[in-house]
Symmetry: C2
Subunit: 479 residues, 2 copies
């Protein structure tokens, strides 16, 4: 363990600020090139990176880590496309209109980079939500230097990845200071406090995220904090779906909640099933053996959480190892009434291979359970076409950022329409940490009034030299 000192954090943050003077003026094509070069360099070192990560996290090298690495480089390349496409600049031009109330001068608005960004890496995705993950990629994409706080669960992987990214960026001509890695708890706090840092991206627990969010909000100049925190990812299985395909649903659920040893932010943690469901009956035979969890503290947290839920009045263990302190897969069940009565204890995320079935007898009980939820990253519905689920979908949409049908929430595509975020406590902002629109977190609008053409950013010049979509006098115009 080599914690970064506070003085080093200061020097790194100042260097990031200096780099911002350069990165904030780079051409879109230049930054797209940086992202692609970083992706190529990561791919070139894939074997070494995956071996290190497998050793440090206990996640299987293949397909788990190999897939995650491929996802990570695909993500960098998607953001390169986003930058080149140019809509992310939200370029908007109003020509003068003296007849408007009040009169409109020549006004041109564009999104500019916010400044150096602090990124707190996650434990459970040593590549995709870590040193070169989505937060880093989306911040670099828009011209923000990045300082990553490594997760202590995979320090060697983090250092190797930082070396690969730093070298690739330097070779691509990016300025010194555009990217750096720090390590250590106190160094992370100093980073959030540093005046040069203009935003924070975080993936982790509600407790840790809340502490950093409060810290960012308490600065003399509060800065935006984008936390991807805890989520229960409720799944609703209707009586008709249970009757039609209970066995297949049980298999799907067993696969999803145990994937990666249940260490996904989108793990289905609470599943609403009809009383006496075929799903519940089929589950006991479907549990897989589990290896060690990511870190000793995650293993302790899992055991404590699974025991806490299992020991709550009305809860029974229906499958898996119920021995206190165990780390094997476990499924518990509770009635809708008991869930509602003990919502505070039962509706708290248990990170690891555990899920809670909630047995409901009718729509009213089901809706009462859903009413007890706070926000989630996802909500999933398994129903049959014969059922009217309009109101149910509205309820699910109210408590989640992504609503899935006939699927399982683990597995988050990286695409233009993806949204990985939801009401508190799953996130604390109306933004995503995955997908094309993640860049908006690190941009701020600037309007230019009556600016001479030569002083306008390229995106706003009359001739549209970037060839990007723009809104002109209220009308969207394609290049």
């Amino acid at each position: 363990m080599t914690d970064t000192t506070i003085d080093q954090v200061d020097a790194i943050a100042r260097a990031a600020k200096d780099a911002f003077a350069v990165t904030s003026r780079t051409h879109e094509r230049t930054r797209a090139d940086w992202l692609r070069r970083a992706a190529d360099a990561i791919d070139a070192d894939a074997e070494g990176l995956i071996a290190l990560a497998a050793d440090e996290t206990a996640l299987p090298a293949s397909p788990r880590l190999a897939g995650e690495l491929a996802r990570t480089t695909a993500q960098l390349r998607l953001f390169a496309k986003v930058v080149e496409e140019g809509s992310y600049l939200e370029a908007t031009i109003d020509h003068p209109d003296a007849t408007a109330t009040p009169p409109i001068p020549d006004l041109r608005r564009v999104l500019r980079p916010l400044g150096p960004v602090a990124v707190f890496a996650a434990s459970n995705f040593p590549f995709a939500f870590s040193v070169a993950g989505g937060d880093t990629a989306s911040a670099l994409a828009v011209g923000c230097p990045v300082v990553v706080k490594a997760h202590p669960g995979h320090p060697e992987t983090s250092r190797r990845m930082a070396g690969v990214v730093s070298a690739a960026l330097a070779e691509a001509g990016a300025p010194a200071g555009v990217f750096a890695l720090i390590e250590g708890f106190d160094a992370g706090l100093a980073l959030v406090d540093h005046p040069a840092i203009r935003a924070v991206g975080f993936t982790g627990s509600v407790r840790g995220g809340r502490a950093l969010l409060d810290r960012a909000a308490a600065r003399p100049d509060p800065i935006p904090f984008y936390g991807e925190l805890g989520s229960l990812n409720p799944v609703v299985i209707t009586p008709a779906a249970d009757a039609a395909r209970g066995g297949a649903l049980a298999e799907g659920l067993a696969g999803s909640f145990q994937l990666g040893a249940g260490q996904f932010c989108t793990k289905p943690g609470v599943v609403l099933v009809p009383e006496g469901s075929a799903v519940e009956a089929a589950l006991p035979g479907l549990l897989a053996p589990q290896g060690r969890l990511l870190t000793p503290s995650i293993a302790e947290g899992f055991a404590a959480g699974a025991d806490r839920v299992s020991g709550t009045p009305g809860v029974e263990v229906v499958a898996g190892d119920a021995a206190p302190g165990g780390t094997a897969s476990r499924i518990a069940a509770v009635s809708a009434a008991d869930l509602v009565a003990h919502a505070d204890e039962l509706l708290e995320e248990v990170f690891g291979p555990f899920t809670l079935l909630v047995r409901y007898r009718d729509d009213a009980e089901r809706d009462a359970v859903l009413g007890a939820f706070d926000g989630n990253l996802t909500a999933t519905l398994h129903h049959e076409a014969s059922e009217d689920v309009t109101d149910l979908v509205t309820r699910l949409e109210g408590i989640a950022g992504r609503v899935l049908f006939a699927g399982w929430p683990t597995g988050v595509a990286v695409s233009w329409a993806q949204h990985h975020g939801g009401p508190w406590p799953s996130t604390n902002a109306q933004f995503t940490s995955v997908g094309a629109t993640a860049v908006r977190r690190f941009q701020r609008p600037v309007a230019y009034q009556d600016a001479p053409e030569a002083l306008l950013p390229d995106a706003l010049r009359e001739s549209n030299p970037l060839g990007i979509p723009r809104r002109v006098d209220g009308v969207l115009v394609l290049p």
Copy 2:
């Protein structure tokens, strides 16, 4: 004074939540109609509203308040257009792609309304930033019920306006609870704390805004707070501009900083002029007599602020009444060196008819002064085409959300490209409170994965029944 009780606030916030179940499912055309009907009703009662506001605020009925009322109804009508145009939904469709890394399911993303919004009205715009102002209009536009906390500076105007808006919305068929007015300091705090409230819009002082921001952030479920707070709105006059048109610039400055008795959030509060400038020489003859300020506490704050700045070492009063405690217009001046030495005292907004000239001798002094600024709503440059101001514009862009050329910052157009926001403390978020994009503050993304067509919102159905611009498989498609 009839303060709303805490019980009443609770009932009002609950009613807003109930209304949200309806407003969140309304058709775009329906909400556009609500906004236009409210605008028509306000126009129909213009005479009475203006008379009340003139009496309560001491602002002149014409052109000041008549213009503000026209601006307010134009704003409601602009948001009706924004809703109908549909880009504000950011509708995005990714069709399935099994070849992507990782594979992409059918994913469709749209922005949905956040929930009931609390709006804290401003003192200085009894119409445009008050009961039926931009925050209210943009929240209603996207389907969020609104509870307005009236500003105590114009209670009768607020009540009358609330009556007009409530009646118009009810006649248009909007649900009960969609709009309400509350009064009183404690009622406002209770509103920010209320679980049903999902966001806060605020226009006012840094101190008041910071207190509410901290309160919103400290909730068990933190909610977004959008504050439009304090701004110095720096103006830079170059030597060439001063030489070419110092007299005209002095007239422009005198008009801008005294407009509405200096009670604009965009008042030019600090003006960088070359040492020995023609602007400074011409100012003393240009001061206008001032009437009473908006409220007794604003008058006290103005006198205290103007006296504080005037009494800071190195500062001299160059025009206007320097008598302690006065409310007449005043212009002070200070050297660049003294400004930098006493930045904490001098770079604090004085709300009212006061501005501070900062005399600089060269570019280095000018840049040192700009380096002492925090964030601002605006920054203005007066230069001549013969001067290279590229670096200077970069500096201004770094400390402001709107950069103006050859103009004055008072007067904020309501349009698609407007941005009224800037780095802390002028605002605390990367959003605007004026212009089309103000709606984004009150929306959250939701993605639907593999949803049956019939369960999708209209905006995301394959046939595009709303006829709106959408991004399909990464490509922007016009209707």
